[in-house]
């Protein structure tokens, strides 16, 4: 289960990598800053379509070899699911949840179907991939029907919850903060947000905490103020704690990603890059972050601090709305306190429980690199593999080489370099590696493997080894089995 979650987390990194740039474009393009609508529109394209990016990203992340066609199918699945559900009931908004669901379904079906060789009878719809599209369409239609009839009740329930929370004052603000963060992994936080921001409360005909705040209601802003300490200080400190806890040799790289993520959160209030980097690795730590967020909202509400944002709780909004706020500057010392708490909690939790946050991953034995996947592309991981292998002599390569231009020829050559078919007890592919069980490790010819394009050989023990070959691992193994 956790393994699957981490796969989703890793898949989401592809779209998330675009967010910092988009967040800056969007925030700086707003009328209250540089006022370049064109720039804001482009940034907005990323945020508005985040659910679609999640659908494509997750489908691709799940699919074998990250095949692009799964991404196309993921997009289709998302459109069918959301448009179908909306045809039944206009008020339905599945947002990121719809995207993640569509991505998972697509990835799973795609893999199940592509395992088979193209069936003759499926030729007229384009073989196994065409078949996958048909199946994905059908499943998405069924899901759209289910969501179309069930979802409005879920949404209604959430609205009732929102009304009940709003009436509880500081405690309500705390519960809202907790829920807001807990729902992010499921993409449901916007449902609660849209109620609290745009529906809750009434002031001269204006409704919603955000709408009323900008209309000048002095009592509004209690559900937004407490976000500033978390987004400007708490989460960036968590990111810095991850840098401090990283292995010394990886610290610079981690500082790069986490520094960018921290700055993004501090300036714009876009927190996903930080949150997604640990939510799937350490769900308990994420839970703690949700509790702290609730605490911040409750404290700020109780102290009578009222502040708001029309984008998110970053420095830019803080500065722009400073004249609307009540006791707005109190948020700075509170924020610094939260920053210290976050740093201490994160640093020691990571150290004590040995959480594999970015930069703490081991070159492990299972063939997958759990944390590194978040930071590095697989190719970069491969590039990190030891490279101190002597170059193969021309003769060795010539002996091993058949025709390397075809996959079959390549497979032949790899097999020879592994000591031939009789030396290979077991072989399977894992994303970018061959996982091997060999009779005799001595027969594995590392220089030749390197010559053939492998970027690393990891010998685990007398019989087990892994060879990093890149994304073609799957096809290579299929072909190699032909010769065994």
């Amino acid at each position: 289960m956790l393994g699957q979650l981490q796969r989703i987390g890793k898949a989401l990194m592809l779209p998330i990598a675009v967010l910092p740039a988009a967040g800056l474009l969007l925030r700086l393009g707003q009328p209250d800053t540089l006022n370049i609508p064109f720039m804001a529109a482009a940034g907005n394209a990323v945020f508005n379509f985040l659910p679609v990016l999640f659908a494509i990203g997750v489908a691709v992340g799940f699919a074998k070899n990250n095949h692009g066609f799964a991404g196309l199918a993921g997009f289709l699945s998302y459109e069918i699911l959301t448009d179908g559900a909306q045809a039944i009931n206009k008020t339905i908004n599945l947002d990121a949840l719809g995207g993640i669901l569509a991505g998972i379904i697509t990835g799973l079906i795609f893999n199940a179907v592509s395992k088979r060789r193209d069936a003759k009878w499926a030729q007229f719809i384009g073989g196994s991939k065409g078949l996958a599209v048909v199946l994905i369409t059908l499943v998405s239609i069924i899901l759209a029907l289910v969501f179309g009839y069930v979802w409005p009740y879920v949404q209604m329930g959430i609205n009732h919850l929102g009304g009940w929370i709003g009436a509880l004052g500081a405690v309500g603000a705390g519960i809202y903060g907790l829920l807001n963060r807990l729902l992010i992994p499921f993409g449901l936080h916007h449902v609660v947000n849209s109620y609290i921001w745009f529906v809750y409360g009434d002031w001269h005909g204006k409704t919603g905490d955000m709408t009323r705040f900008f209309a000048g209601d002095p009592s509004a802003g209690g559900f937004m103020a407490g976000m500033f300490p978390i987004m400007m200080f708490g989460l960036p400190s968590a990111a810095l704690a991850m840098v401090a806890a990283a292995k010394p040799e990886r610290r610079r790289v981690v500082l790069g990603i986490m520094g960018a993520a921290a700055l993004t959160s501090f300036l714009t209030g876009v927190t996903e890059p930080i949150e997604f980097s640990f939510m799937f690795l350490a769900p308990a730590l994420y839970g703690l972050h949700a509790v702290l967020t609730g605490l911040s909202l409750a404290i700020c509400y109780a102290l009578g601090i009222r502040d708001g944002f029309n984008f998110s709780a970053g420095l830019i909004d803080f500065v722009l709305n400073r004249n609307h706020a009540t006791h707005g500057y109190w948020l700075i010392p509170i924020g610094i306190a939260f920053g210290i708490v976050y740093f201490v909690v994160f640093y020691f939790s990571i150290k004590i429980f040995n959480i594999k946050t970015p930069g703490r991953e081991d070159q492990d034995a299972s063939g997958s690199v759990p944390g590194a996947g978040f930071i590095f592309d697989e190719m970069q991981v491969a590039a990190d593999a030891p490279a101190d292998v002597p170059a193969a002599t021309q003769a060795q390569v010539a002996a091993a080489t058949t025709d390397l231009s075809t996959m079959a020829g390549k497979a032949r050559a790899y097999l020879d370099a592994l000591g031939g078919a009789e030396n290979v007890v077991e072989i399977e592919a894992c994303t970018t590696r061959l996982r091997l069980n060999l009779k005799d490790m001595e027969k594995l010819n590392e220089p030749v493997l390197k010559q053939l394009g492998s970027s690393g050989v990891i010998k685990l023990n007398q019989h087990n080894a892994q060879v990093v070959v890149g994304t073609t691992a799957d096809m290579l193994v299929e072909e190699m089995k032909q010769f065994m």
Binding site: G57, A59, G61, L72, G84, A260, M379
Partner: protein
């Protein structure tokens, strides 16, 4: 395992996708079953024809049909369409608009090209996270931003 799908094979698969959309749309038609829901699902496929083309073209062009190219194509398409719209509000970006097909073709070809050119980009350690395949959507969106700027000023529908 199949070898890489070339553009031809991808076009064949896109034909299957559009056929599914068309069949669903027809089944839901008032003169056939009159199921509004099924028609809406068919329309969800057909009305996004430009995006489907963009993603399809990009993965057909990209080495090993890598999905990062598809994601970049979608993103590039939206950047072009939303960007031009913000420059000139008279541009129709609905499925009947003339710009969507152009945006789809440009984004598709560009994303495939950008993937092949940049998917092994090594950035300095500080930005390493944004390197490799993840660099592809970023650089594609950046290029599409420029294209949107030009198109927004010259396109009239």
């Amino acid at each position: 395992m199949q070898e890489k799908l070339g553009l031809g094979k991808v076009v064949g698969l896109l034909a299957v996708v559009f056929a599914i959309g068309g069949i669903l749309y027809w089944i839901g038609d008032p003169t056939v079953t009159n199921l509004h829901f099924i028609q809406a699902v068919g329309y969800a496929v057909l009305s996004n024809y430009a995006i489907i083309l963009a993603v399809g073209i990009s993965i057909g062009l990209a080495k090993e049909n890598q999905g990062a190219a598809g994601l970049a194509a979608f993103l590039g398409y939206e950047v072009i369409v939303q960007g031009t719209k913000s420059i000139s509000s008279s541009i129709d970006i609905g499925d009947k608009g003339s710009i969507v097909l152009v945006a789809g073709l440009i984004a598709g070809v560009l994303a495939g090209y950008m993937y092949n050119r940049y998917h092994k980009t090594k950035l300095p350690a500080v930005l390493a996270f944004f390197g490799g395949r993840r660099f592809v959507p970023i650089v594609t969106a950046g290029a599409c931003l420029l294209i949107a700027f030009v198109l927004g000023h010259v396109w009239h529908s």
